[in-house]
Symmetry: C2
Subunit: 362 residues, 2 copies
């Protein structure tokens, strides 16, 4: 058989890579679906998507698509391996000018140490590649440790394999560092979905999840959290100890006027005793300069405040409200582009929401 030079080089590279891998360490892969999953509203057929396609069929096309993204989903496992690798298959190549590839398409690993979650390292997607295979961390000691691996914020994961040393143990944690029986369900916009966290673990629901130890469900739909009643109907079917509504950035003031009362009223009727936290939209930094934009944001918050006051007047209980001035500080340095929060913005946002979560769940 004749081979081209390119063909020979491919074969040589394959042999070389195999030899190198052998010289390093033999890796055994396990399907991540074998371990504990957090951040899931309910079970889905495609295991790394947020809402099953059967349940989004009455929602907008945009939400149908975004519900397939893996934002907020994380895998918990424990291992005594000195190395952790991952192979993950993405649905598409993503470009977002306000997101890092690690944020929209990468993986983010934490370890549970002395009762706290501590950052370990990320897995970086390669340019133009939807199938990735990376060492996340190596040269660790061989004590048994519990890890949590966050999935991409703005991409869809079709397959995820976690690799450890061939002789190592890998299993579902006996005592998970996240209590999946305590559930906080958040509905919102691109900010909630995680734009513009540097890596998946820095979106604010992920920060809240680590700080509380609760299972926090990220139902953020970029540009598309417009309070349609179909979404309220779905939310009411999701097991929740607390709902947070952070969806005011997306609907117009008119849509908020038309939809927010019915949306919240429906949720309250279906779940009479579950606390609800309602969050104003952050004020857009460029709205300090663009008067038309600034007016629109003020109008959004004015409309949702009217709904809040109407519901309070009607005697709604277990209902909390956070105004925009409490959310991201006042140095104007919490966003990448006026509206999407950086890690700095998300850290502030989590700190602002955390006391109210504790109060609502006391």
């Amino acid at each position: 058989m004749k081979r081209s030079l390119f063909g020979c080089l491919v074969i040589a590279a394959t042999i070389f890579n195999a030899a190198t891998a052998f010289a390093q360490e033999m890796i055994r892969y396990t399907d991540a679906g074998a371990f504990l999953m957090t951040g899931k509203a309910k079970k889905t057929n495609a295991i790394y998507q947020r809402i099953d396609s059967v349940e989004t069929k009455d929602m907008t096309k945009a939400v149908q698509g975004l519900a397939k993204n893996s934002a907020g989903i994380a895998i918990l496992f424990e291992t005594n391996s000195t190395v952790i690798r991952a192979k993950w298959k993405l649905a598409s190549e993503v470009f977002l000018s306000n997101m890092t590839p690690i944020g929209h398409s990468g993986l983010d690993l934490y370890c549970f140490k002395d009762g706290k979650w501590q950052f370990v390292m990320v897995a970086k997607p390669a340019k133009g590649q939807i199938d990735n295979d990376q060492i996340i961390i190596q040269n660790m000691d061989s004590s048994m440790k519990q890890f949590m691996l966050y999935l991409p914020l703005y991409n869809t994961v079709n397959d995820l394999q976690i690799g450890v040393s061939e002789q190592a143990i890998i299993r579902t944690p006996a005592q998970p560092g996240i209590n999946t029986a305590k559930r906080v369900v958040i509905y919102g916009s691109s900010i909630l979905q995680g734009a513009s966290a540097s890596r998946p673990g820095m979106a604010y629901p992920a920060i809240l999840q680590r700080k509380t130890g609760f299972d926090v469900i990220n139902l953020g739909f970029s540009g598309s959290a417009k309070m349609e009643i179909e979404v309220a109907k779905y939310l009411a079917t999701v097991p929740a100890d607390l709902y947070i509504l952070d969806c005011i950035p997306n609907p117009s003031p008119e849509e908020i006027r038309d939809r927010s009362y019915n949306f919240i009223k429906y949720l309250r009727q279906q779940k009479p005793s579950t606390p609800i936290i309602l969050i104003e939209t952050i004020f857009r930094e460029n709205g300090n300069w663009d008067r038309k934009l600034g007016k629109n944001v003020s109008n959004q918050n004015e409309e949702i405040r009217k709904t809040y006051e109407r519901l309070k007047k009607e005697g709604i209980t277990n209902f909390y409200y956070i105004s925009s001035d409490k959310l991201i500080g006042n140095d104007h340095e919490a966003t990448i582009d006026g509206v999407h929060l950086t890690d700095q913005g998300f850290t502030r946002m989590a700190e602002a929401v955390l006391p109210l979560i504790r109060k609502a769940l006391k």
Copy 2:
């Protein structure tokens, strides 16, 4: 002449765009080179590069390339326009898994308001495009305002045009909000160059520039700040009121042992009275888990501390030192990938360095 459907659509789109632009506002463009530039070590032939190619010829190939990036360069202008646009031509399409396209290839606009610089908005590079043209902000009031436009951190700018309303004034500020006579020159690694700020204005030299009002010169060379004597020779020719050396992340412990004493000694001999601040490398977050990596970082800092102590023993004055435990907090949440700082990390780093800058320049 026969035209394809595609050809017809292109013509139609062009006419439509022109009509839309006309309906909006006529824009007049001015070459950004006409205004005040900050963040430049010296004048260069290609005006948006950091070191002239004539002066890098004895440096490494890597530094020769990176010196062309526009990190730390910003344009100051004032205008009463209600709209600001920019056209910018980049040298290449960049992909970095740990940077946003806005950070590596976008523009970042600030306004000088009540004696402080406040974020306005960014210009976002489009996917796969090296020639970009964007509205940055619109619908502003028509008072005269001073603006500063930061250039991309990890790309090279071949041309930059700033657009304002046809009838508006645009000019170099009469009283610039940055004092270009007071110069802080920083030499360092990818962290200094700006990985992984969300946008150009959030790299720590840019934060220091706004907080001090001084001209801060970003000589960060990703992966390539290895303390070669040729770089010390160049630094000594750059007008400076203060030098900061933040280059310890790049050289190996052996290179630090071999080079750092001569590097600093040379700079001190050439500039006997200019203060020097020496900064240890941040500890790599993944070095808390990867024992080999952690040992290497500890060795880097051990070697530079030896050099510091040797120089102190020799009686060097105006010489300051910052140890790694003071730099980025202790919650392990300041980086995207263990080593490159997010906006949260950069804000902490600026806060850590600022008091020493004030002390050194008192």
